[in-house]
């Protein structure tokens, strides 16, 4: 079955057509065969009667020719006698001698033997006539005539009986023929119906994959690539088309996915680059704004420091020098990436300046794991956080304010913690700061221009992790701690 369905479409269609035709052809052959048999039977019905009639005619010829010969002794009649006797003999020899239950067979047998006797009697008669033995030929003539009568009686009786029986047979045959007709028509009709149903089913089975394919193609055409793909059932042309279609749909789908992925990647990349650039530019812009004065200030401070040294005012010199370093860092540092050490130094300088300004009010505690100091981090991040802590945490606390800077390792992170014991911060504000929605007060004094949100954004971009900055506060008055977690570089 499957082998047939795997044939090419053309062969399949031709196969179905031929199968149906052959079936009908076979039925017709049967019909013709049956009709032929019937016709033969019909032909044979009155065969026996014809045979008997021929026999009867032949024996009459023999008898007549003998009589004519006896009465006139002509050569013609003798010749006639020989011919007719030969003919009669041939006919009688053809008769069977079986003895059966059928009376016909026995009668035929008797006719045959009587005919033999009759022929020998007749030939004896003719012989005697030739020998002119009057007594003898009369005697034989009488005997043969007697036999002739018996044979005729037998033939006519048999003829009538057989006619009756044959007529019955004929009637039976005729009714059989009608039955045969009915059966044939029934068979032909049933075979036809079977044929039609088979063709409908087979053609349906052939066409169904094509329909499925059309449905799927429609779906795909509307843009639904996730439609159920039809299974190629057979390896015919339709099966090949379905296979090709399926492959095509799958590869289109794959291609689209790949395209989308690469586009997304590229966009991400571009976005990141853009953001980094934007933030840096933003920071630099702010610095530049801030540096307009610091450059000049830095030079001025340098001059002041030298003056203080010459005058022997060491403390003043140191202070001016620190301020100068602080501003120098700002001025020279155009790079986005620096080491933790540089940042920590900047914080040191910043605290020192503040302490001079606020006469040593701020306590600065520092716990630094020196092994981690070479770790890279974005520039200008720690100082704004410390500035924030001073401004918003401990400013109003006088000499009680403490700033703690810790650099330590935690798992695979390098942690930089900046804590204070100031007035703390509410969780609401922490969330706002981390979410980037805290309202700035740009015009605040002594602000170096870089806000927390800028710092956090840059740290996030740098580390590519959203939780890079954590702010902890145990409530109002209990201080605040900002922890930066940077990934440990791979070589350490």
């Amino acid at each position: 079955m499957n082998r047939f369905f795997n044939l090419p479409l053309q062969k399949k269609i031709v196969g179905i057509y031929m199968g149906a035709n052959i079936l009908i052809f076979i039925v017709n052959i049967f019909l013709i065969f049956g009709i032929n048999i019937m016709a033969q039977e019909m032909e044979m019905v009155y065969h026996d009667n014809r045979q008997l009639n021929a026999l009867s005619e032949a024996i009459a010829d023999v008898q007549d020719s003998m009589t004519v010969y006896l009465s006139s002794k002509t050569t013609d009649s003798l010749e006639n006698y020989y011919n007719s006797a030969q003919k009669f003999q041939n006919l009688s020899e053809a008769i069977g001698v079986q003895v059966t239950d059928e009376s016909f067979s026995r009668m035929r047998r008797n006719i045959k033997y009587m005919s033999e006797n009759y022929l020998s009697e007749v030939s004896l008669t003719i012989e005697a006539k030739r020998g002119r033995n009057v007594e003898k030929y009369r005697n034989h003539y009488e005997k043969s005539t007697e036999l002739y009568d018996y044979i005729n009686a037998y033939i006519s009786s048999l003829n009538i009986e057989q006619f009756v029986s044959n007529s019955e047979h004929y009637t039976e045959l005729a009714s059989a023929f009608r039955t045969f007709e009915l059966v044939s028509v029934a068979v032909l009709t049933l075979v036809m119906i079977g044929n039609i149903i088979s063709i409908i089913i087979i053609v349906g089975m052939l066409i169904r994959p094509l329909k499925d394919l059309a449905d799927s193609a429609d779906e795909v055409a509307t843009g639904n690539f996730d439609t159920d793909l039809p299974e190629p059932l057979y390896h015919d042309e339709i099966g090949i088309v379905i296979g090709a279609f399926n492959k095509m749909v799958v590869s289109i789908k794959e291609y689209i996915v790949r395209l989308r992925e690469s586009m997304e990647k590229e966009r991400d990349l571009q976005e990141k680059e853009l953001m980094m650039e934007t933030h840096l530019k933003d920071a630099q812009l702010k610095y530049l704004q801030a540096q307009i004065n610091p450059h000049f200030l830095f030079n001025t401070l340098n001059a002041g420091a030298q003056l203080a040294m010459m005058e022997g005012a060491d403390k003043t010199y140191e202070y001016v020098q620190t301020v100068a370093d602080f501003f120098r860092y700002n001025v020279k540092n155009q790079e986005t990436e620096v080491t933790i050490k540089e940042e920590v130094t900047l914080v040191d300088n910043y605290i020192q300046i503040l302490n001079v300004r606020f006469s040593g009010d701020i306590k600065y505690e520092k716990q630094v794991d020196k092994r981690l100091l070479k770790t890279a981090m974005p520039s200008m991040t720690l100082q704004p956080i410390v500035e924030n802590a001073v401004n918003h945490g401990i400013r109003e606390m006088g000499d009680k304010g403490v700033i703690k800077l810790k650099v330590y390792r935690e798992d695979s992170n390098v942690c930089i913690s900046i804590g204070d014991n100031g007035k703390g911060i509410s969780q609401e504000d922490i969330d706002k700061i981390l979410g980037g929605s805290f309202a700035h007060k740009e015009e605040q004094y002594e602000h170096n221009g870089i806000g927390m949100d800028n710092v956090i954004s840059r740290l996030r971009l740098f580390s590519e992790r959203p939780d890079v900055v954590d702010i902890k506060s145990e409530g109002p008055g209990k201080g605040c701690e900002v922890i930066i977690r940077l990934p440990l570089p791979a070589d350490e």
């Binding site: 048999i37 047998r109 008797n110 036999l147 045959l173 089913i201």
Partner: protein
């Protein structure tokens, strides 16, 4: 998919099945048709020749012979049955000889013509068995008949019974005693038959009567010839007897037809009770006539046995070249005393 496959499979199977069944039906139909023409084939073919194939008696003998022959794969025909014309025994003999049958059973008589025909058949190598009527001078291999002497004695006893009954009646009526006349016993014999059997029957009858102490004055046996040469002469001959002045007291019939004719004549001439008929053969009508008291008694012959003996004789001859010269079939007397049993038996047979 599976549903479709199944449907397709079923349809194709159904179609092929229809085709095959159609072809088979046709084939068996035709075979059946031909088979009706097929019949047994037999090795040998005998014929039975009688004067009238329609007679109950002969049909019954034929039936017995037919059954016996069939067992030996031989077919036996009652010759003349299938022919349009009525042929005499002699003509049928000629047909049988010309037909080269394997054996002839013939109801013969002692005529020379029959002797010649039997001899001719023997010359042709066809064994002939004479049945019921013999032809002693011929070369027939065997005779199958009834014990004529026994039949005669049975008739004698029955006649004596009738005489005794009459004696009793006469003694009761002294008037009659004085006018006692001898009982007229008429035996109907066929004219054509130089049949020794008939003579034996008559002599046995006489012998029995004298043995049974019947005085000669008490009975008088006469022989009335019945012309059976022509087709309907038997009936006329028998009626002639009743047209005579002196009607016999006892009529003894020696064949079935005579019995039936005599019985009908007695009824027609209103002589029931006056004339006692001693019949022959136990056809249905004769037995029922005994039951009604119209026929005094009849002889029942074991016809089946007779037929069997005929076939036996022929097949013995074919097998061993010789056979017993005489076969005698059993005879039984049926009269008023045992007719009921016979009727019962017939009913059972039917």
């Amino acid at each position: 998919m599976h549903g479709h496959n199944f449907l397709l499979f079923t349809t194709v199977l159904f179609t092929i099945a229809t085709l095959v069944v159609g072809a088979l039906v046709f084939r068996f139909y035709m075979e059946d048709f031909r088979k009706s023409g097929e019949v047994n084939e037999y090795d040998k073919y005998y014929v039975m020749i009688t004067d009238s194939y329609k007679a109950d008696f002969w049909q019954s003998v034929y039936k017995g012979a037919f059954e016996a022959a069939k067992e030996q794969n031989t077919y036996i025909d009652l010759l003349g049955e299938n022919l349009d014309r009525q042929y005499s025994c002699e003509e049928l003999m000629k047909i049988a000889i010309a037909s080269k049958v394997d054996g002839i059973i013939v109801y013969a008589n002692e005529s020379d013509e029959m002797t010649n025909l039997i001899n001719e058949a023997t010359q042709e190598g066809i064994p002939v068995v004479t049945l019921y009527g013999d032809n002693t001078h011929s070369g027939r291999i065997s005779f199958v008949g009834v014990g004529s002497y026994n039949i005669g004695r049975e008739y004698g006893r029955q006649v004596f019974n009738i005489i005794k009954e009459k004696r009793r009646e006469d003694f009761k009526d002294s008037e009659k005693m004085k006018q006692r006349k001898s009982m007229e016993v008429t035996v109907l014999v066929n004219t054509d038959a130089q049949d020794s059997g008939q003579n034996i029957i008559i002599s046995a009858l006489q012998e029995t009567l004298s043995q049974e102490n019947a005085t000669n004055s008490e009975f008088n046996i006469s022989v009335v010839p019945v012309d059976n040469k022509n087709a309907f002469s038997v009936e006329e001959s028998i009626r002639d007897i009743f047209l005579n002045e002196k009607i016999p007291d006892v009529i003894i019939c020696l064949n079935e037809l005579n019995t039936v004719c005599a019985y009908q004549a007695v009824v027609d001439f209103n002589k029931v009770g006056d004339v006692s008929i001693l019949g022959y053969y136990d056809s249905e009508s004769i037995v029922s006539a005994i039951d009604k008291g119209i026929v005094y008694a009849t002889i029942s012959i074991d016809t089946a046995q007779m037929g069997q003996y005929c076939v036996e004789a022929l097949s013995d001859y074919h097998e061993f070249g010789t056979t017993s010269q005489y076969f005698t079939a059993d005879v039984t007397l049926i009269n008023g005393s045992n007719v009921a049993d016979f009727l019962k038996k017939e009913e059972i047979d039917e």
